[in-house]
């Protein structure tokens, strides 16, 4: 932990995408933030920038964020061309300024995809993900119907595999990182999670068919195995989940 005594700070130049609304045209605007401390988060630097803008009577830059600890999946910026920045395994809110150098110039853009229309500045609409979930991202288990928690044993490795897939935070970086803007990693992770568990078995075919169909309907592109999704995923969700989704889908389609 920094001893906090370094008060000099860095100067960071920013080229930030601003767009008044989804209907209007956007452009990059230049800003400079002084006295950026290494232990600051990237979003705290943007907070400081916004403070100075408001004090000057200008509109603050809008960006989505909430938990600021990498778990809610709300934040998501393209920092210098990479979704959530170049530091692996972190969300935008976890990016610390110590990963940059004094005098750096960084571009900041929203997650770009046809299925993620811009709302304002750096804020996009990711409700397509919710609509995919509503098609089958669940086990149909009404409250009251559940057997005892230990009634169905689940091998530890299966539970661990399900958990690996379930850690997806639904941020959309996989879509933003993919040259085709495919949502396959997101959908694959959810289908995989349930495919590892006995609880997910009764609906596995229906789930795979309906979620994949909705993914296509939302205008996401196809997966062509670039692997960018896995590279930018802040939770390091494995691309094997896409392979697993394909197997589930093909099995379901063959069964009819």
């Amino acid at each position: 932990m920094s001893d906090g005594s370094n008060k000099s700070g860095m100067t960071i130049h920013l080229k930030i995408w601003r767009q008044a609304s989804g209907a209007s045209k956007g452009a990059f605007f230049d800003y400079t933030v002084e006295n950026v401390l290494p232990e600051m988060s990237f979003l705290e630097m943007l907070d400081i920038l916004n403070e100075t803008l408001v004090q000057k009577g200008e509109e603050a830059i809008e960006f989505d964020n909430d938990c600021r600890e990498g778990i809610c999946g709300t934040c998501g910026l393209i920092i210098s061309g990479v979704a959530h920045g170049t530091h692996a395994g972190t969300t935008t809110c976890e990016v610390r300024m110590r990963t940059f150098k004094d005098g750096d110039t960084l571009t900041v853009e929203p997650f770009r995809a046809k299925a993620f229309p811009v709302i304002k500045d750096l804020v996009v609409d990711r409700s397509a993900f919710d609509r995919i979930q509503a098609e089958g991202g669940f086990v149909s288990m009404n409250v009251g119907s559940a057997p005892d928690g230990n009634a169905v044993p689940v091998p530890k490795t299966d539970a661990d595999n399900a958990m690996d897939a379930a850690t997806c935070i639904g941020c959309g970086a996989c879509v933003a990182g993919c040259p085709n803007a495919s949502a396959s990693l997101f959908v694959g992770a959810k289908i995989s999670q349930f495919s590892w568990l006995p609880q997910g078995d009764p609906e596995r075919a229906r789930r795979a068919l309906k979620m994949v169909a909705q993914m296509d309907a939302e205008g996401f592109g196809d997966c062509s195995n670039h692997g960018e999704c896995e590279a930018v995923c802040p939770k390091e969700i494995s691309i094997q989940n896409i392979a697993r989704m394909r197997r589930e889908f093909v099995k379901a389609a063959v069964k009819g």
Binding site: N50, G57, R98, A146, N150
Partner: protein
């Protein structure tokens, strides 16, 4: 005061263990089918309590409107809970039982919670695990395929279920999946990016809300037969807290202004293990799960002002003060005790880090005993998170931690049916005051949120709908117009100030007052000072707020300004409540009331009650009412974890 009301908690008659079943037997029902569809229920919030309530009401066939401020219900702040969820399953054969979980929760809450509610919570805890497992929540398991458990503070059994360090996330995604299914089925209509800005009361009953669509600023009216608030707690009144930056108290505070009493606002939980504050640019503090205290040892140097690195301080010169002071529970004492103990050490000049406001949480012994892999398996993501923030590797050097505002036990007053003092307004999860008394035990928030959401709200709301005469109401009703007008007026008022101080600037100042005077230790002079300062700051806010942008657009500064307006009132109420409560209990510690050993000293003769504050108007002193707490099953004792 002659007009003080004694509130009736409507606790059902009969033995503790039978109350809930009997109550359900005695409550009216709505028959399945078309009748349920005719009833419309508004649920605000999509966390464990709100999302589960909305999904379950949808499953039962009610017509549900579910609102959340986030862009998706999956992002509610329950997602950030780390360590686990308690349930009295006794899977570990270590003498756990419903009664023990009930007893531990009553004791952990320092005997300031309602027996009947807590017993029900313990009863329902088991069904939560069953339900979540059946929905595909990937809890940690043993090699034999059974569910794994860990220990949490304040108890001597292993009853905490977990999914690595992301239990809240996994349980919330379970809730979200149930909700998604109902959205697909058309029983629940979701309203993401909507903020409730007021409650509409018609003929004394909660009949709707006024909400702002956050991307366009549209103010909209929604009517219903009942309203459920599950909007979380109010820790961000401290500015720096472990909560998400958009977590806020606006829904419950506006309901309070419309007549819902606010209970025990001074009961706040300062969590002992968060990453210490590093600078005044910070936007939040990050929690390090309590589960870490299973294997981590808390210590400070024995000598004051010892500036050596942790690794250079020999074993004999370290003070493992929790193990020393509380040998029976050691590092696993309840949160309030662990937090205060850290403050005592730091105030005595033994704190570490350049600020002196941090203590060590050391895993060297655990890594030696269990191996790095096992420690990584248990806490890997937390260690990684800590390293991202601080740049330090906790496998090599001890973590530094300090207490941080985390959870609020206070909230809107509710009776046994989770109904507030406004008929038809139900409050669930952290937003109500009900189950945790003056201190919440670890892994109990998830339990309460889901117990309320899956099991209690669906049943009590159904009884209300079946048993009440509810005339149809339209959003053209005069009350809707009036309340909408109030909302519009306040928004315009905020935009018209055109002053010099930003929302953050004023909120930061409020936070410092709250932390210094209404934080881990409080006294009469400090609380009086806080009341004066907050009043002055409120005035400053309404005269000198700098706000840009418009109301007809996505404008987060405006959203935060609205929330801060409420915190500036709520903060004062917290100080008033703390001043009134001339005792120390749980998270409420008054310097004037402590034992010779520095422990909290309750005054059961005079303070075995729930405070319930009534809003009386802007800048007017609120009126306090009471609910006496009656203990028929548990004997009130001085809490001891020694």
């Amino acid at each position: 005061m002659a007009d003080r009301k004694l509130l009736d908690p409507k606790i059902p008659a009969g033995p503790l263990a039978d109350k809930w079943d009997r109550h359900m037997m005695d409550s009216p029902l709505v028959a399945p089918g078309g009748n349920r569809r005719k009833f419309k229920v508004i649920v605000v919030g999509t966390g464990l309590a709100g999302g589960a309530a909305a999904a379950t009401l949808g499953e039962l066939g009610y017509n549900v409107l579910n609102f959340c401020i986030q862009d998706s219900p999956r992002r509610a702040h329950s997602v950030a809970a780390q360590g686990g969820i308690n349930a009295s399953k006794n899977y570990q054969n270590d003498s756990d039982s419903v009664y023990r979980l009930f007893y531990d929760t009553i004791k952990g809450g320092d005997y300031r919670s309602r027996e009947a509610n807590v017993y029900r919570l313990a009863q329902l805890s088991m069904g939560i695990i069953d339900q979540s497992v059946a929905m595909g929540v990937p809890f940690a398991r043993e090699y034999g395929g059974t569910l794994a458990n860990r220990s949490f503070g304040g108890v001597q059994v292993s009853r905490t279920f977990y999914a690595r360090g992301q239990t809240g996330q996994q349980l919330l995604l379970g809730v979200y999946s149930a909700l998604s299914r109902q959205v697909g089925a058309g029983t629940v209509k979701m309203f993401p990016r909507y903020e409730m800005l007021d409650l509409v009361v018609v003929d004394g009953k909660a009949r709707g809300i006024i909400a702002r669509e956050l991307t366009t600023g549209r103010i909209e009216r929604y009517e219903a037969d009942a309203v459920v608030l599950a909007t979380g707690g109010y820790s961000p009144v401290f500015y720096l807290s472990t909560n998400a930056v958009n977590s806020n108290a606006t829904a419950i505070w506006r309901a309070h202004r419309r007549g819902a009493f606010f209970s025990n606002p001074c009961y706040t939980q300062i969590h002992p293990t968060a990453v210490p504050q590093m600078g005044d640019y910070q936007s939040k503090l990050t929690l390090m799960s309590e589960s870490l205290r299973n294997d981590g040892r808390v210590w400070v140097p024995k000598a004051q002002g010892d500036k050596r690195r942790a690794s250079d301080i020999p074993e004999g010169e370290r003070d493992y003060y929790l193990e020393r002071r509380y040998p029976a529970f050691g590092n696993l004492v309840p949160r309030d005790i662990a937090a205060r103990a850290a403050k005592v050490e730091c105030d005595a000049g033994k704190g570490v880090y350049n600020t002196g406001f941090a203590v060590y949480l050391d895993f060297a012994e655990a890594i030696g005993r269990l191996g790095r892999d096992t420690v990584s398996d248990r806490y890997g993501n937390l260690f990684q998170m800590y390293e991202e923030i601080t740049g330090d590797n906790p496998y090599e050097t001890p973590m530094m931690i300090y207490p941080a505002p985390h959870y609020t036990m206070g909230g809107l007053w509710v009776d046994y049916n989770l109904e507030s003092t406004i008929e038809g307004l139900f409050v669930a999860g952290e937003a109500n005051f009900s189950d945790h008394g003056a201190n919440r035990l670890g892994a109990s928030a998830l339990m309460q949120g889901l117990a309320d959401g899956y099991f209690v709200v669906p049943r009590v709301v159904a009884s209300y709908l079946a048993g009440s005469k509810l005339d149809p109401v339209s959003t053209d009703h005069e009350s809707f117009k009036e309340v909408e007008n109030d909302v519009r007026t306040q928004t315009q008022r905020l935009l018209d100030i055109k002053g010099n101080r930003t929302v953050r600037d004023i909120h930061w100042e409020l936070g410092r007052v709250m932390w210094d005077k209404v934080g881990m230790a409080r006294n009469a002079a400090g609380l009086q000072e806080a009341i004066t300062k907050i009043g002055a700051l409120r005035e400053e806010f309404w005269q000198n707020l700098a706000l840009t942008g418009a109301d007809s657009d996505l404008n987060k500064q405006l959203e935060q300004a609205n929330r801060l307006a409420d915190y500036l009132e709520l903060g004062e109420l917290m100080a008033r409540d703390a001043l009134m409560r001339e005792e120390s209990c749980g998270g409420h510690f008054r310097d004037e009331h402590k034992t010779d050993e520095g422990e909290a000293k309750r005054d059961d003769a005079n303070f075995t009650f729930v405070s319930a504050w009534e809003y009386t108007g802007e800048n007017k002193e609120p009126a306090m009412h009471k609910e006496d707490l009656v203990f028929e099953n548990v004997e009130l004792k001085t809490r001891s974890y020694k």
